[in-house]
Structure formats: structure tokens, C-alpha cells
Point group: C2
Chain length 346, copies 2
């Protein structure tokens, strides 16, 4: 059996946030939005997973509150492949739970963990990188997919390598670096020895669970109990990210560079960059003298006259107009709405 | 009987245009919008007229297509005081028809002709100026109300005086000057001897109809025939403005300066200036870093982040975002929509 035949995909379908308000809401977070194409980011992730494995090896983990929405969005998802978190607890518990569930099913499985709210333009390149990662995982590594930085971003964690990464090869990760300040980020960019941590992982499940038991024994025990049918154990599970709970402390961590048009779509500005690649999306638009202005959502006619560089987000009950340069700051609007008691639109 | 007891008001409720698209539509032109206050401009004009005369001396002239809307907007308007133009023909025919109708009712009447799509903030000052105009009209003058320019506007006609205008007095008008270019407008502003022609007039109706018969005999005959009950005569009535048809050629034209917070609200920018004086109008708004940005229409929540100096116009089927500096250019959007065949939203 080749590593690829043991491969299972775990789609992380949880995740919430306010960066895409008002298109995203508490009940319809970012992964359900069509921010970069005709289908939702979650559905695009499913379609990508289908290029890797058959449906019976695609698992999706989501908190209970989103389970029905996930099943609607992914009609081919088998109900017995939906791993439900009793409540949201960040990435470490979600991934540990899914891996524990799969381990009961196929102890020799390799898992590819995929966030559902990123865009990856080049599926062929992605497939090739996952194949490389599978081989490294078969050899025992906990494999990250890493993105070569094209700017000194301060919004990502970085993976430190001993040398420049080689396309098509796994390299050892020397260190996980949390989101750096601008000066360190510029140094990382210049050095060429750092990759962004994209939150995608490939590993043998047995190996991962051993590592989990070693570095986070409580979390391992609790999630194993939930996987074995005792959902009550979830109550004591902390909210904690995988990087913090496991990866920073783990041994034999490797990275394969991914050059496949990846973007985490972290803001309206990023979504606008992608939307610009797809002219004609959405409803009727009339733009005059408004270079770089992008409209999302809505079936209404939207006209813009001499207002360049903004994003217009049109939904039935709320409208946002924001400068693309300010798109990291949507939380200021959300905070104002919270203090106005307007949870009805959040 | 004092001149004021003979006063009748004629509200010009016709008028169309695209400057306030998408809030204004073919079936709901500017005068029906609440651009500067809680009530429509038309209703505010009615309320102002009521400060001058009792309801039985308020006449409203409107094309047939708007008659029902006018009656809805002005519930106190007597049906027998609604003068219906069989079709829109610009100001000269509308005013001539209304004056002919009133003449049959009260030949000694004085008429104050009031457009319905301007704003006048100071009703007391307005009343005082109309009283001055009435006395001058009683003496035989065709009286215009003139606005002292506060900028070298090129969008208005100007009235040339022999000397600086005196508040509270009528001065002879030496010349009607059509919309000037920027250089002439600056010269007019500097000289202090020019007033904007605000399209408001006061005259003895008998005197006006004599002047009309003298300078535009065809128009006089046709509109008198319609007033006498022969609507077929309207077919031959040309589209022509009062200034062009009558005022430029008339003798004994005078002007009383009006200093009463007048604005013709010629663009979204002008409307935004007035809206800014009335905080809290409209639905819920959240503005962050968006100085000078104003939202019109809509009951939806509208949030603006770091986009200063724009107007957002929110309607159920169309949304406009425009730079206040570009607000003279809404026709470019309307033209684009026309060429797209989107008459449904015009």
C-alpha cells in the first residue's frame, strides 16, 4: 500500500470571525462564503480533497452549531465522516478529536489536515506537494505545508529552516515562531530561511497521537474519550491552537514548501485581490472612475462613481463601505455594533 | 384689501431629473424626497406656503403623471386647486397655465410662484421678503427673489442690478444673464451687483398675463385655452423656460434679495451639506474615520470604515456610492444604465 492509499483528509470546517462582516455572520462564518470563485471556500476545499482521496476518506470536523450548515454545503459528505465538536475549542482539540476518530477506523492512516477558509488556485501543484508530504509523513515526520513569504507579513506564524527550502522536498523545521513584529518579519523575509505556517499538516495518525500523548497528555486523554463515545469529556478540553499545544514542542517536524497560489484571504482587501481576477462576478455593477473598487454580495444594482480603492459589501440587512487599506480594521465596526446592542446583524 | 390678502401661492410640483438617482426615479422625482429634513421638499414648500396664505389660496401645478403622487404628498391640497398639465412642458407653460386658471377665479390676485425642490431654512425671513415682493408687485413689477452669491457658481442664471441690492427693498433688474462661464461668474461675484435667479416670482396675475400676451402671444393663447377647458390646445405648447419665454424680454422686472438659508440642492453634495446639519437622520449608521461621508435612504444598517467624503445612497433595488466631489456627474451612471437597458431602475 502506498502512502497515498492510506491518506485521509480532515477538513477543519469550524472557525469564526468578524473580518468578513457583514457577509459573514455568527451563523455563516467565512468558510461558507464565496470569496474567491463561484463556490464557497469550504466547498472548494472539499473539491480539492476529492482530487486527493475518495469521499469515504474525507472527514470534516465542525462544532455542533455548524454541523447542519456543513452538511448542506457538502452534500456528498458522508454523515459518518462528520466529526462533531460538542462546542468550538480552537484547532488543537478539533484536530486531536478527528485524528482519534480516524485512528479507531484505520490505525495506519495518514491524515492531511486542511483549513476550509483558504484559497489554493493551483490544485495540481497542491496535489504534488501533498504527495511529497505523504512520503515524509510515512517516514515519521509531522509535516507542515509552508508558504514562501512574498512580503513581511506580521499576521502569520513562521517556520524557521536550517537552509533555504527546496521545492518538492521536506526540510526539518528548527523552530516555530509566533507572529513577529514588522522588523523581525522583514528579517525573516530577507533571510529566505523562513516559511509561513499555513495551518496545513500531514502526518501518520499514530505518530501524531503519540506526540500528542507526550506533549499534551490531558488533551490526548480527553479527546480520545470523546472519540470513544463520551462527549462529556469535552467540557474540560481547553481552547488552544495546535501550534501552541503540540507543534512548537514536537520532535521531527518537517515542512514542504507549497507554491500553489495559496492565500488565507485574511481581509476584504485580500478577497478583493482575488475577486479582481474574476470579472463579472455577482450582480449588476456600474463603475465609473473607481479603479480597484470591488463589490461583494447582493443582487441589487451597485453603482460607484469616482470612489477608487474601496470594498462595498452589500447584504439584505447591512451594508459596509470600507477603504481597502483599512480592511484589517473591520473589528472597529463590529465593536461599535456590539456597543450599540446590534447583535441582530452580527 | 392689502396686497397680502390678494396673495395666492403657486407651487411648481413638476420637474424631473437624474441628479438624485437612485433615490429619485422617473416616478418619484427630487421634490418627493426628504433631502433636507423629515418631510419631502414638496411638503416643506407646502408648509411654507401655509405660513403665507390659507389653503384655499395655495395652488399646485403638476403634470398628469405626478398628480396622484402630489395629492398623496399634500393631503390638505384642495383638488380644485390642483392644476394639471396634460404633459410636462417646462416652467413657462406651467406658470402661464396656473396664472390663467387663477385669473378666472380672482382677476386681482397676486401670485407667488414657488419651486418645490429647494430648501429655505428661515421661514420668517422668507415671509418678510415675500411681503416686500407683494408690495412691489402691487405697484406693477414682475418681481424675482434673488440670492446673493456666496461662490462663483456656473449653474445658475444671474440677475444684473444697477447697484448693490438692498435687503428689504425691490431693485430694478437690468438684465437676465444665462448660466455664465467660470470667469464671468467670478466677475459677477466680485462686482456685488448680481444675484442668482432662484426661480421664485411674485406678480399681479393680470400684469403677468399682459406681459405674456405681449412677449409670447402664442403661449398666452394656448395656455388660456387650456385654462378655459380645452386641453387639446396643450399639444402645441412648446417646452420652454419662463426666463427664456418671458422674463428676459419683460419690462419692469424687479428683484428682492432673499437671505433665508436658500439652497437649490442641486447635487448629492449639496444634499449632504444639509443632511450634515441634521445628525441622526435615517436608519442606523456606523461611521469610523469617514469625515464628511453621508448616507441617504434605506432602513438597513450602513457602516463606513475609513472612506471620507462620499455619499452612500441606499435603496431597495439600487445602491450608489459616489465621491461628493463627483456629485455633478451622476448622469454618467444614469447613461451607463440606459445603455445597459436597465430602465427598470431609472
Amino acid at each position: 500500500m502506498s502512502p497515498r492509499d492510506r491518506l485521509h483528509v480532515v477538513i477543519l470546517a469550524g472557525g469564526s470571525g468578524t473580518r468578513f462582516w457583514p457577509l459573514s455572520r455568527a451563523k455563516r462564518p467565512k468558510q461558507f462564503l464565496s470569496l474567491a470563485g463561484k463556490v464557497s471556500l469550504l466547498r472548494a476545499t472539499w473539491d480539492r480533497a476529492r482530487k486527493l482521496v475518495p469521499v469515504e476518506r474525507i472527514w470534516t470536523v465542525a462544532p455542533r452549531a455548524l454541523a447542519a450548515a456543513v452538511l448542506r454545503e457538502l452534500p456528498k459528505l458522508r454523515r459518518d465522516r462528520l466529526v462533531v465538536e460538542p462546542s468550538p475549542r480552537d484547532t488543537a482539540p478539533a484536530i486531536a478529536l478527528a485524528c482519534s476518530v480516524i485512528a479507531r477506523h484505520d490505525p495506519g492512516a495518514i491524515a492531511a489536515i486542511l483549513p476550509s477558509d483558504h484559497v489554493i488556485r493551483d490544485t495540481s501543484a497542491f496535489k504534488r506537494v501533498v504527495a511529497v508530504a505523504c512520503r515524509a509523513a510515512q517516514g515519521g515526520a509531522l509535516v507542515c505545508l509552508g508558504i514562501a513569504p512574498d512580503r513581511a507579513a506580521t499576521g502569520f506564524g513562521y517556520l524557521k529552516l536550517g537552509a533555504r527550502p527546496r521545492p518538492g522536498f521536506a526540510s526539518p523545521v528548527l523552530e516555530f515562531v509566533e507572529k513577529p513584529d514588522a522588523m523581525r518579519a522583514r528579517r525573516f523575509l530577507r533571510s529566505g530561511r523562513y516559511l509561513w505556517n499555513a495551518g496545513m499538516f500531514v502526518w501518520r495518525i499514530e505518530r501524531f497521537l503519540e506526540e500528542l500523548a507526550s506533549v499534551a497528555p490531558e488533551l490526548h486523554r480527553q479527546t480520545a474519550a470523546v472519540a470513544a463515545g463520551s462527549p462529556g469529556a469535552w467540557r474540560r478540553v481547553p481552547k488552544i491552537s495546535l501550534d501552541y499545544a503540540v507543534m512548537e514542542k514536537a520532535s521531527d517536524v518537517a515542512v514542504v514548501p507549497l507554491d500553489a497560489g495559496w492565500d488565507d484571504l485574511g481581509s476584504w482587501d485580500a478577497a478583493a485581490r482575488h475577486a479582481s481576477l474574476e470579472p463579472g462576478r455577482g450582480g449588476a455593477r456600474v463603475m465609473v472612475g473607481s479603479e480597484g473598487t470591488v463589490v461583494f454580495g447582493g443582487r441589487r444594482l451597485v453603482a460607484v462613481l469616482d470612489v477608487p480603492g474601496v470594498v462595498v459589501v452589500d447584504t439584505p440587512d447591512a451594508l459596509l463601505v470600507l477603504s481597502r487599506a483599512a480592511s484589517e480594521r473591520t473589528r472597529e465596526i463590529v465593536q461599535a455594533l456590539t456597543s450599540l446592542g446590534r447583535e441582530d446583524v452580527l
